[in-house]
Amino acid sequence: MTGSQLLLYGARRILFIVPVLLVALFLTFALTRVVPGNPIDRVTGPYVSQEHRAELKHQAYLDRPFYEQFAFYLRDLAQGKMGTSYTTAQDVSTDLRQRFPATFELVTYAILLSILIALPLGVLAAIKKDSWIDQIARVVSVLGVSMPIFWLGLILLYIFFYYLDWLPGPVGRTGSVLTSTQPITGFLTVDSLLRGDLGQFGQAWRALVLPCVTLAFVAMAPIARMTRATMAEAMQSDYVRTARSLGLPFRVVVFRYALRNALIPILTIIAAVYGYALGGEVLVEIIFAWPGLGLYSYNAILSSDFPAIQGFVLLVTLLYMMIYLLLDVLTAALDPRVKY
């Protein structure tokens, strides 16, 4: 596929994002409005009169059918407003902008860590089948899908925070009360370096270690498993046998022939895990009091904060679609046979 074709394909896909977002939003509206429980009743409590409540509901369009609410929401959205959250009392877009970097930083480091471990592990396991490293890969991939992630987080906290006292406890991103500084990128590890604040850099890293390892341990399993399976298949293929019979060095055969061919399913599973973690790592964020999207969605659901739930769904659906778009473009770039 040539560069211009790829660009055209990307443009088509980006256009396609809009209708999908609309459908996801519409469904969120329908689902939240079907469920009993009104955010106004919850926020105001028992000491606000019925009339005043009705007035507030009217202001929030909550006395109208949900499709009308949907239309109003879209109108506001076109002006960049996502509605005021009932719990934080600021626009949801501001909320999301504050919380997304926390999740993004955590999940990105965790996925990088898991790739760094799982990919070599899977490759080695595939080329040395039934060796001790293969056994390790098997254990890792079955343990990762068997452990309750929130329990793993607690155990790590007990060992490294409570018992050894090496790492900060579950108090969010800096491991202490945050001296609030204006974010630049939102990545605390990057921001602190840009500012030259090595103290904060160290704090941010130390706070990241435990949640990151917890998440990576679970993310590693599917990646290691997929790498092992596809690499094993590739190593038994005719082209690898031919390459070896021609006397190419083993390393070249493994990396340039087998791994390159096995890479697409591996990338697919990495994208799936990444998207899943970005949108749903609620439990890790709860355990570590990590002020990110997962915790935000949890609180939004518990307090039936409709604008917050809608904003969250919108952002996460967008993220999914971006990740899969990136994946498809990468696939096309890697595999000349792929045509869209």
């Binding site: 999908v20 459908v23 996801a24 469904l27 689902l31 469920v35 009993p36 098997r138 079955v142 343990l143 899908v145 068997s146 452990m147 309750p148 992630i149 929130f150 329990w151 793993l152 607690l154 155990i155 906290l157 007990y158 409570y162 018992y163 599917p222 498993r225 997929m226 399976a229 399913p265 599973i269 799936a272 895990v273 998207g275 899943y276 949108g279 749903g280 609620v282 439990l283 709860i286 355990i287 997962g294 969605s297 949890y298 659901i301 518990l302 739930i309 969250f312 769904v313 996460v316 659906t317 999914y320």
Partner: protein, 306 residues
């Protein structure tokens, strides 16, 4: 997007090579034993499931204490001879509670699995068999279900239904329906083109009989493998929901709830309160995963031991 089902779908037999011929062979007991012997991990999985089922059925009978017997005089004690796994902050014996909880957790996971399998298989079979509008309608609705973050969706369902055992089952089942529907549809698409389907039509079977008696049974092997694996994930998801207070509530003897009770005492350093229930979850899920993987090896003709 579910990482689990996605993974399993890929690893299953390609739809073109449905295990029709192999199924009867695998059914013979001696062959099953032979296959198992070459696969110690599967035996381990089976043994774990056996232990969990044993605890679930007989646990309440052999337990030395009442799981809800509050005894503040012995609150939050570490493992000892009288309480091998220690006691929680109410003085309830943890060994008793971990065993008793096995029943509830297993029942919730199995019910969720059966519910999502029944709905998903039916949807997928109908979509694959009738095709066209039905197929489009069913599969696009599944796409939409999968567009939401999995666990967040389960949270929303659980929150809407209010706490309780039924809630956990329905919420866990809901997020797993699309996996079955997708798998079943793809299997159905290939099976309905096979020779035996043509033969069944040729001898005059009505379409309903063709679907129920000829096509569906021939799709079930991969579905059963996924269902076994899903039992494990359902335990994780159910415990996760209860852990954050959206499923079964404190003080019910349930593994996720027990971990959340341990979390309350985290800063007192009472590690045993959350460690043992979590270990029970991990071991149970491990059992189902090992057994599911093994089942796949045994049922798949390409991966069987010769």
């Amino acid at each position: 997007m579910a990482t689990g089902p996605l993974l399993e779908e890929r690893r299953l037999t390609p739809p073109g090579e449905v295990v029709i011929g192999a199924a009867p062979v695998a059914g013979r007991l001696s062959d099953v034993i032979y296959q198992l012997r070459g696969n110690p991990a599967t035996i381990a999985g089976l043994a774990i499931i056996g232990i969990i089922v044993f605890a679930a059925t007989l646990g309440p009978l052999i337990a030395r204490y009442d799981p809800y017997q509050i005894n503040l005089g012995e609150a939050a004690q570490g493992p000892s001879l009288a309480h091998p796994l220690g006691t929680d902050q109410y003085g309830e014996d943890l060994l008793t509670r971990v065993m008793v909880a096995a029943r509830l957790d297993l029942v919730m996971a199995l019910s969720a699995m059966l519910l999502s399998m029944a709905v998903g298989v039916l949807l997928g079979a109908v979509a694959g068999f009738f095709g066209r509008f039905l197929d489009e309608g069913v599969m696009r609705s599944q796409d939409v279900l999968q567009a939401f973050p999995r666990f967040v969706f389960a949270m929303a369902v659980a929150w809407a239904l209010g706490p309780g055992i039924g809630t956990v089952i329905v919420a866990t089942a809901t997020i797993n329906v699309p996996g079955y529907a997708r798998l079943m549809r793809n299997l159905m698409l290939s099976v309905k083109e096979s020779q035996f389907a043509l033969a069944a039509v040729a001898v005059g079977n009505p379409r309903s009989r063709l679907l129920w008696r000829h096509l569906m049974p021939n799709c079930m092997t991969p579905v059963i493998v996924v269902a076994t694996l899903q039992c494990g994930w359902a335990i994780l998801e159910a415990a996760g929901l209860s852990f954050i207070g959206l499923g079964v509530r404190v003080p019910t003897a349930e593994w996720g709830v027990m971990i959340s009770m341990g979390l309350q005492d985290f800063l007192q350093g009472h590690w045993w309160i959350y460690t043992f229930p979590g270990l029970a979850i991990a071991v149970a899920v491990l059992g189902f995963n090992l057994f599911g993987d093994g089942l796949q090896d045994i049922l798949d003709p390409k991966r069987r031991r010769a």
